[in-house]
């Protein structure tokens, strides 16, 4: 059985199941007792009490450090960082502690914790509340990175992230937070590291995640309707570990790929995906892998500027048309 609920509610269900099943799971963050902007923590304080739903001072560094300390001594903390920009104030704890301890202590301990943060633009939130920073986490060994687009995936992936023994950064795009979708009832996991083909197609592979997977569906519909181009849309869901098999299987058929994220193109995780595709399938590609992402400036407040900087489905359509038009030249 499934019903339509929002992304935020879907993650709330994952939290409830995890906390009921396993009393090592605690949640820690600022103002979480009040339920969270997308209802993602609603009712947890009442059900589980202040020992397990720890309302924190405005102290991002200790939110992460305390989570690490709790994780290495038997708990499974879920740390809420609200806006992803605020994780920068805990980057030392994320990079130098959470991600490293398992390795530098020779595998004698794991750090089972989840770091939840919302990213992306939403109605002119401006430069300090709009950005997408997954590339900064994805580069660091020891961190897994998840960025779902569908409520059902969000529920299952959050469950898997909480059950995982390594630190997982769980990114929730603000535009998706209140979007609704079909979500199964009951407890389930969606395994980390597996992409999902949202729409089959033979002309071009669009690799996307988070909000761009949603823009990608719209772009795919438009390309089918107006240009008779059949997009195969791969929703990555997990960025690290990267499901290169699913991507490569698709591109091997379509011979063309467009990689999309809301983060800046330059130095973004799309560069990694593009480089991997090219390394694996160079001889089979008909066109260069093309990237869609934000232009290289901080997200402006003014609506027309925000729109000019942040990609939506139109940019995907344009990129697909360019890629499809390309015929590889003889050397």
């Amino acid at each position: 059985m499934s019903r339509q609920i929002s992304f935020g509610q879907a993650t709330l269900e994952a939290m409830q199941y995890a906390m009921r099943r396993d009393d090592r799971v605690i949640v820690i963050g600022e103002d979480i007792g009040w339920g969270g902007s997308f209802g993602q923590f609603r009712g947890l304080l009442d059900e589980f009490g202040p020992q397990r739903v720890v309302d924190m001072p405005i102290s991002e560094a200790i939110i992460v450090a305390a989570s690490v300390g709790a994780a290495v001594t038997g708990l499974r903390p879920v740390a809420s960082m609200s806006f992803v920009e605020f994780t920068m104030g805990a980057m030392d704890e994320i990079v130098n502690q959470a991600a490293k301890l398992r390795f530098m202590f020779g595998d004698q301990v794991t750090v089972p914790m989840v770091l939840r943060a919302s990213d992306g633009t939403l109605r002119s939130s401006a430069a300090q509340h709009s950005e997408s920073l997954e590339a900064l986490f994805a580069h660091i060994p020891g961190l897994k990175v998840v960025a779902p687009s569908a409520p059902a995936d969000a529920k299952g992936l959050l469950a898997a992230a909480i059950a995982d023994d390594d630190p997982v950064v769980f990114l929730e795009n603000k535009k998706i937070g209140s979007m609704r979708g079909d979500v199964p009832e009951g407890e389930y996991q969606v395994p980390l590291g597996r992409a999902e083909i949202r729409r089959p197609g033979n002309d071009v592979t669009v690799v996307a995640y988070s909000i761009m997977a949603i823009h990608g569906e719209r772009a795919a519909r438009q390309l089918a309707d107006e240009h008779e181009i059949e997009v195969e849309l791969v929703d990555l869901r997990t960025l690290v570990p990267l499901d290169i098999e699913t991507i490569a299987d698709s591109v091997r058929r379509t011979r063309r790929a467009v990689v999309c994220h809301e983060a800046w193109v330059s130095g973004g995780y799309g560069a990694e995906i593009a480089a991997r595709i090219t390394e694996e399938l160079f001889d089979e590609l008909e066109a260069p892998v093309t990237r869609v992402g934000a232009r290289p400036t901080h997200i402006p407040f003014s609506p027309p500027l925000e729109r000019a900087v942040v990609p939506q489905h139109e940019e995907i359509v344009d990129a697909v048309l360019r890629v499809v038009a390309h015929r590889r030249q003889a050397v």
Partner: protein
């Protein structure tokens, strides 16, 4: 002092009227983004800024309109910024949370809690080095005192005796969370003492008291005696942001604080010593209303930035 207080009153009223209109405009969906208004805390920004020279620096927070107005930013360019227009103080790039005017020493509202403490400390370092005699004030909420940045700034400013003033607006709440639930000491002056920094608790709704305490702090800072921590007790009359359901506080508490509204208190004082009769008082309010109306018209009529200019000044960098 008399002239000062009349000008202080005028500025407080202008903030009050401006913020009231901003709240309305936001609810009418005329303003993009989200908006945190300063209503109720006017005595803090205005009292502190009245103690400053025009070339002194301030840094501000997500709740920054009041600080900007108190430091001299015009309502028209401020309102235009909130609209995201090219004529705004930041040419529409910043919006409500990032209003700034470096020409007036207003080093910006900032969406990262306590970030201004660090920037003001740097501005103080710079002023001391240049021998300019300027001081730098950081306004920040009581929620910011638990952030590592406050700590590193407070220690460094104190050890180097920098001309910095830590103006903590203790309005009891950080978002929906009461101060005492997250902060290990009830008296923030005690926190200041942990740095060897003088900590002064002030009725932040009494603008004369604020001005006095700020003047002392400014004098110390300019005189080479280093930073002061001002624990300015106040209250925000509205929610954390416009639209907040405010479940975390009681009507009784709000009402008790409404009785301590800083503007009627100042008006009572000015009336009692005949500085401001009720006609003059009414003029101040109606002038402010007119000015805000004009600011709104200015903002409405101003153009949006040209999307083609989104990368202006950056394309050459990559």
């Amino acid at each position: 002092m008399t002239r000062d207080l009349r000008s202080i009153h005028r500025t407080m009223v202008r903030i009050r009227v401006f913020e009231g209109r901003v709240q309305q405009l936001f609810l009418e969906r005329k303003l993009p983004g989200f908006v945190h208004v300063y209503t109720g805390q006017e005595a803090v920004a205005v009292g502190v800024c009245a103690a400053l020279r025009p070339d002194d620096y301030i840094t501000s927070t997500h709740r920054g309109h009041g600080h900007a107005i108190a430091k001299g930013v015009g309502l028209d360019r401020l309102m235009a910024e909130l609209y995201g227009k090219e004529t705004g103080v930041c040419r529409g790039r910043g919006g409500s949370m990032h209003v700034a005017d470096f020409g007036l020493g207003m080093l910006g509202a900032n969406g990262i809690v306590a970030a201004g403490c660090g920037l003001a400390t740097g501005a103080g370092l710079s002023a001391l080095y240049r021998g300019s005699g300027q001081v730098a004030v950081c306004f920040f909420g009581e929620g910011g005192v638990n952030k590592g940045m406050f700590h590193e700034a407070a220690n460094f400013a104190t050890v180097k005796r920098l001309p910095v003033i830590f103006a903590c607006e203790n309005n009891r709440f950080a978002q929906y969370t009461g101060f005492e639930r997250t902060t290990s000491v009830a008296d923030l002056a005690r926190r200041a003492d942990g740095y060897g920094m003088p900590g002064v608790t002030v009725d932040g709704n009494d603008v004369i008291a604020v001005l006095q305490a700020a003047s002392d702090a400014v004098q110390a800072a300019r005189g080479g005696d280093g930073p002061t921590f001002l624990n300015l007790e106040t209250y925000r009359f509205g929610g954390h942001f416009v639209g907040d359901a405010e479940e975390y506080r009681t009507e009784n508490q709000v009402n008790a604080w409404l009785e301590r509204d800083p503007i009627p208190r100042l008006e009572a004082h000015l009336r009692s010593d005949d500085t401001l009769d009720s006609g003059a008082r009414d003029d101040v309010w109606s002038d402010a209303a007119l000015e805000v109306e004009e600011a709104e018209r200015f903002a409405e009529e101003s153009p949006y930035p040209d999307p083609a200019a989104a990368l202006e000044g950056i394309l050459d960098r990559r």
